[in-house]
Symmetry: C2
């Protein structure tokens, strides 16, 4: 059976049963749509993913793009596939019609993207990066920049990148050193080096626009002196495109995402690289961070997509592969049984299923909150959605990256010795997945964001909102006969609130190191609670109405039960450790390592 990439019935349960896509139709901004147009967009993406993008993935995951004479050549299949992705309209699908978009909800485009990512991450990422870069120009660029760059990016004529990281700075954007010198022609002369630029060179399109962080001469030190620029690979002069002195100097030897080159770029080696300021001077980080939620949501979706396609593949393998016999079988001549009959294989499969279903639920919820935060019915609805979204985003990025990686590792293990070979794709997705705990802010940075900023923002308002929403859902779960789980979830949320309060007080007293010491533990426990909430919502929805099959309902209930029995009971232990302020690693002298 062909790999479905993501289970259709899970998607239906989430869109109809849990988050209720229909309610978006009531918002004026989406009034031009019907549920049928939503479904058709997702169905078209799904078909493209299954029929076109997935089959060539295997041939594209082994070798890196070629790099010769300063030019990157992608795998030959990328060009045609990328064209098909562009034709789907995904680049501007969630953007307004005035910029050529279809004004679809993020919830719809994120779901469509998930299928594409599950099929062929490297190809689809080029589109995602282009959209992200164009979004920055759309939001902050002058009409002229929008015309010159954004339009061609949304149309797929040119691609875009995000050029943030520098060799000496890594995640510390405060330490960006690329310089921008104002020029009489209104542009800036750019000099500097950027690393890990995904899609930073390619042979698909005649131009690439790099959204780049740099310092204008004389800018303040630190984060408040960093500005955002659009820097094309080639600039227009006299109606033609000429070199803009942006050199691709190397291609990183990555372990996954092989179809997508990650390169080092040198701007202005010959003193002739021109960049155009996007937005206000010195506001580059702020502008960039306004797009951060969507970027992190997309990384979370990458992670769930890689986990899902691997789960589906290992599930099929476990059904097909005969090996061994039941514990009670005594006759060695009896035929072997499919390995899905072995308890430990089932454990590995249900764990993957729980991670995929919980993670996808979390991401679709975040996508829905993105739509409501921007387009909600009134200011209060928008405000509440924004608070919840900001709170959940680091979790929706980190849970899929960390637990998704565990899920991909289990998919290898299900294959036994074959899993350790590239004869099966499990190892390719596992290599792809590993990036997601690193890019767009490492898991450590997400944990600091969650605990140090989001959970304690506005006097704890987002967390109280989270708790009251969960309490409402717990009521519905009780009515559906899932009272035990509802009670356990309520207790865990209470523990989360108490722990957060204790840590916030520590921070208020000036001990920010003490507050944040166990941020990673906090993230982990928060994730387990947030995913428990999703799985309970899914089990509850599956019991409501008569639309859902017995298998779907049983699967949702078991996945929920698995999580509540296996993961949730550990949360109290973790919260106790966090509150204890345990210091074994934090204050160790370096010689003690």
């Amino acid at each position: 059976m062909a790999n479905p990439l993501i289970a259709d019935d899970l998607v239906a349960l989430l869109l109809d049963g849990v988050i209720d896509l229909d309610r978006l139709l009531a918002l004026p901004v989406f009034s031009g749509h019907t549920r049928a147009t939503f479904d058709m967009f997702i169905a078209t993406a799904r078909r493209l993913a299954r029929e076109s993008l997935y089959p060539p993935y295997e041939s594209m995951n082994q070798e890196l793009p070629r790099f010769e004479d300063g030019r990157v050549s992608l795998h030959p299949a990328v060009r045609g596939l990328y064209r098909q992705v562009v034709e789907l309209g995904i680049l501007s699908a969630s953007r307004p019609e005035e910029v050529g978009g279809a004004m679809l909800p993020m919830t719809v485009t994120a779901m469509a993207s998930a299928y594409l990512m599950a099929a062929n991450l490297g190809v689809v990422a080029i589109a995602g990066l282009t959209t992200g870069a164009a979004r920055l120009i759309e939001s902050f660029g002058s009409p002229e920049l929008r015309e010159r760059f954004m339009t061609r990016m949304y149309s797929g004529e040119w691609t875009g990148t995000m050029a943030l990281t520098e060799p000496q700075a890594g995640s510390s954007l405060t330490d960006v050193r690329t310089t921008a010198t104002p020029h009489a022609d209104g542009s800036y002369r750019i000099r500097g080096t950027k690393i890990f630029i995904s899609g930073g060179d390619q042979d698909l399109t005649e131009n690439i626009v790099h959204l780049t962080l740099a310092r204008i001469d004389g800018a303040p030190d630190g984060i408040k002196g960093v500005s955002l620029f659009a820097i094309p690979k080639r600039r227009e002069e006299g109606g033609a495109l000429v070199s803009n002195d942006v050199a691709c100097t190397s291609v990183f030897k990555k372990i996954g995402w092989k179809a997508l080159p990650s390169v080092q770029l040198a701007f202005g080696e010959e003193g002739d690289c021109r960049g155009w300021l996007v937005g206000e001077p010195h506001q580059g980080i702020k502008h960039m961070f306004q797009m951060m939620n969507e970027a992190r949501l997309m990384v979370g979706m990458n992670a769930i997509a890689s986990a899902s396609v691997a789960y589906q593949e290992s599930l099929q393998y476990a059904k097909d592969r005969p090996q061994g016999r039941a514990l009670s079988a005594r006759d060695p001549r009896a035929p072997q049984i499919p390995i899905i009959e072995h308890a430990d294989v089932r454990r590995m499969l249900l764990r993957q299923k729980a991670i995929v279903a919980g993670g996808l639920g979390l991401l679709l919820r975040a996508a829905m909150l993105t739509d409501l935060a921007e387009h909600g019915a009134d200011e209060r609805a928008r405000g509440e959605a924004k608070l919840l979204l900001d709170l959940l985003i680091p979790v929706a990025k980190t849970f899929p990256a960390e637990y998704g990686f565990e899920s991909n590792t289990l998919a290898i293990q299900v294959h036994g010795g074959y899993g350790y070979t590239s004869e099966f794709l499990a190892e390719a997705w596992w290599r792809d997945q590993k990036l997601n705990s690193i890019h767009e802010g490492t898991s450590g940075i997400q944990a600091m964001d969650l605990l140090g900023r989001k959970a304690v923002a506005s006097g704890g308002e987002p967390l109280r909102l989270f708790a009251s929403t969960v309490a409402e859902e717990a009521g519905a779960a009780r009515e559906a006969g899932l009272g035990d789980h509802a009670g356990a979830l309520a207790a865990a949320v209470g523990d989360l609130l108490a722990t957060t309060t204790a840590l916030a007080m520590k921070g208020m007293s000036g001990d920010s190191e003490g507050m944040l010491r166990h941020a990673a533990d906090y993230m982990d426990a928060f994730s387990v609670v947030a995913v428990g909430r999703e799985l309970l919502a899914q089990a509850t929805a599956a019991r409501q109405g008569d639309r859902w099959s017995g298998a779907l309902r049983d699967g949702a209930e078991r996945t929920c039960a698995y999580w509540f029995h296996t993961e949730l009971p550990h949360v109290a232990v973790t919260f106790a450790r966090i509150r204890s302020g345990e210091t074994s690693f934090a204050d160790a002298p370096i010689e003690s390592f």
Copy 2:
């Protein structure tokens, strides 16, 4: 600073402080040795590892051996390195002088091997496989087979392999189909296909001896009809080596252990493959399993070696790499700090350190028990050591494989974006590590072995022995001022015993599925307890006497405290789940996945 592969002070603490290597000198079998000869062997291996084996690892971890015209060609550096490994005498170091060995304790040779494995796993594995294969002939082969094969294997003239797995059988050795037809010349004609044969072909030596499982014509069905054969790649005829009809038909595209080919072998495609029975007919599995403890111990050591070298590298990177500033720093012009100053990086480092130190402690204890089980002072000492060894072996294989993989993943994460590239070696060791949860019995099989056989063997005697040894050590820990940890460990061991009793009763009542359902959870909790015991023993030893530096003592105490605060408190939750008999995955209909 050059990578030390394994920390010298940890090794000293383990050999002198925890397991006390000196007491082996009191045993008659090792009376020809002094402590100086033990130390010299380890020191020589360490120097070879650091100076010769480690530097070329980087160039050897990217590409697989070439396979052309049915012949495998290894990386050109392997030949010289393998020769050096042979000259160290490691192949027969633990074997008696009558077979050319040095009769060193396993404890010494295992420690020496750990350095070699940490330096260059693929090269060293060829030696390990050869020793294992020669051991089988030494133990069960006729004098003629010992002369013909074993002698040349121990001398390094030929290599050896273990040929167990077949495509249709995988881990299910019951289903071996390779056939052996008796011949008038006393040999057997062999036909069949074996897969995943590590070192199954190479261009280092003129011959390879495959220790192979096959069925003699007319043998009983199932596991009791499988015999063990020595099948050389080339056989001697008229004083020359001629082909023995063993064909290498493909090389698996593995994701790690790149220097070591894993191949498919076809025996007897032309009807002329001769094998010689090793040991008794139909006793092949029994013979093979008598070597299983050592094979699993070596896999555990591989795993700790891969975790340790990566830990050391990421530790050095964290000291060298400046990035970001302290939470309290407000001045963006202040220099960046090394990332080891960040709490989350320290967490990732101390976690790696705990896994490496706990795992190495577990493995050296298992090695010591191997020595005592074979050479202990009296029958009772040998018997007790054997019981404890059998109990601990699945744990000493699985904890390093599973937690070691987590440790290797953390080593990548410490490097940020660079960790995702092959510019640093973190990803190479991570790929190497993944095999260890699969070969020599998957983690699932180890868990069934631990719970279904070892923990309930002899009416629970091994577990009671384990508990009483731990209780003794807890007394020493209390005296050293580590009473809190000692108490927590005693409680966890009590929980382990109670849980095991409950499961054994379930099994006795005929519900073996119910007993073994949570075998993986049981393995995990057992591992955490067993490693807690090791880390407490290390912290205790580091407080005794005045030999140890303050840094070593502080490091051992923090590592212990980390584990007791972070991992051990979860054990009670896991044991409760195991006892509950939770069935979410176990009895799910296949459609529910």
